[in-house]
Symmetry: C3
Subunit: 153 residues, 3 copies
Amino acid sequence: MHGVREEVALLATVTLCGVLLQAYFSWQVIIARRRYRVSPPATSGPPEFERVFRAQANCTEYFPLFLAILWVSGVFFHQGTAAACGLLYLGARYRYFHGYAASAQGRLGPLYFSARVLWLLIALAVLGLVSHFLPVSLKTPVLRKLQWLMTTR
Amino acid sequence: MHGVREEVALLATVTLCGVLLQAYFSWQVIIARRRYRVSPPATSGPPEFERVFRAQANCTEYFPLFLAILWVSGVFFHQGTAAACGLLYLGARYRYFHGYAASAQGRLGPLYFSARVLWLLIALAVLGLVSHFLPVSLKTPVLRKLQWLMTTR
Amino acid sequence: MHGVREEVALLATVTLCGVLLQAYFSWQVIIARRRYRVSPPATSGPPEFERVFRAQANCTEYFPLFLAILWVSGVFFHQGTAAACGLLYLGARYRYFHGYAASAQGRLGPLYFSARVLWLLIALAVLGLVSHFLPVSLKTPVLRKLQWLMTTR
């Protein structure tokens, strides 16, 4: 188990940071509910409140996708690279949340950036899984063919 | 770690497929927002939009449950069986999404099917965990009793 | 893999209990939809329905956070402690759901309790990860300093 723990410790740390960030977003919704006097179970109110509410809902919606792809790419491609992408993603989500709280337009920049980071993690996961399933006997010829294509063109 | 990777590679592949399917659903909501002119943060609009929105919300809601039970049954019962059930579940969710987008009635068939697959995965997880915790000294008598019951009745 | 399975079996069991609890909440929403005649895709209706709907939505929203922190604290701090906290959390969520279904006020007690359990799990995860990353050469002096502080004050 110690070897396994070693190979997921960075992923676990990024996961923990993500949980703390989601706790922060939930707390911001509670503050917004008080400020704009929107008591549960209501979820509609002034646009300022609805933007904060939707920002948190969107981050929450993506959180399981993010964790799943972080761990698959971290375990099958490379832990450090996946963890670094994970931190970039969480930073983008922080800027997204505050951008959206300010204006619907303000969410777009960080949202597109966070989506690009997720696609990068997906690409790493695909690469990692393909190289895991590729039989060793195939790996060398495929890599040679790739090298040959890249040197002759 | 290599042995562990071997025993979860199919689960990781199904997880990746699930993330891609969820990304596809999110993209369909963006298209529906444009077609029916429902700009964020609004989530209500014509029934055609609301059905697409709720279809994605429902799939998103079940995604963490699905992943949790896929991995528990895959690790404690049998990886290949769990992964095959996982693919059936994702196929049912694809049909559910398009069925719901067409009509509220159209969601029911695939929804019931996906629920049945989830219950199957839950049953496999229970079996896997019970057989894990059952002490070896108990396993043999219990299995013999079961055999005896099945041959004499 | 067998050693790994041993070290996560309790976490997997609590995860399975959590999935069953979420299935129970979903079923309660279906019953409430029938009783108050709120057909999908609608999500608004009489306050009695909206409270049940929001109770389930809130539990669903926290479920991935709960699982993530349960597993990180269970793997890096101590499996049994994390699993026990996990059961406390699920019990609090059960009381939260029925409290909220009865009145908006009734959700508060169990909600605060469940939040306290989550913070405890977060603290255990932080401790576990810090002690994992702390180099062995540092661990002994730090522990001695702590002992010295606790015996002299």
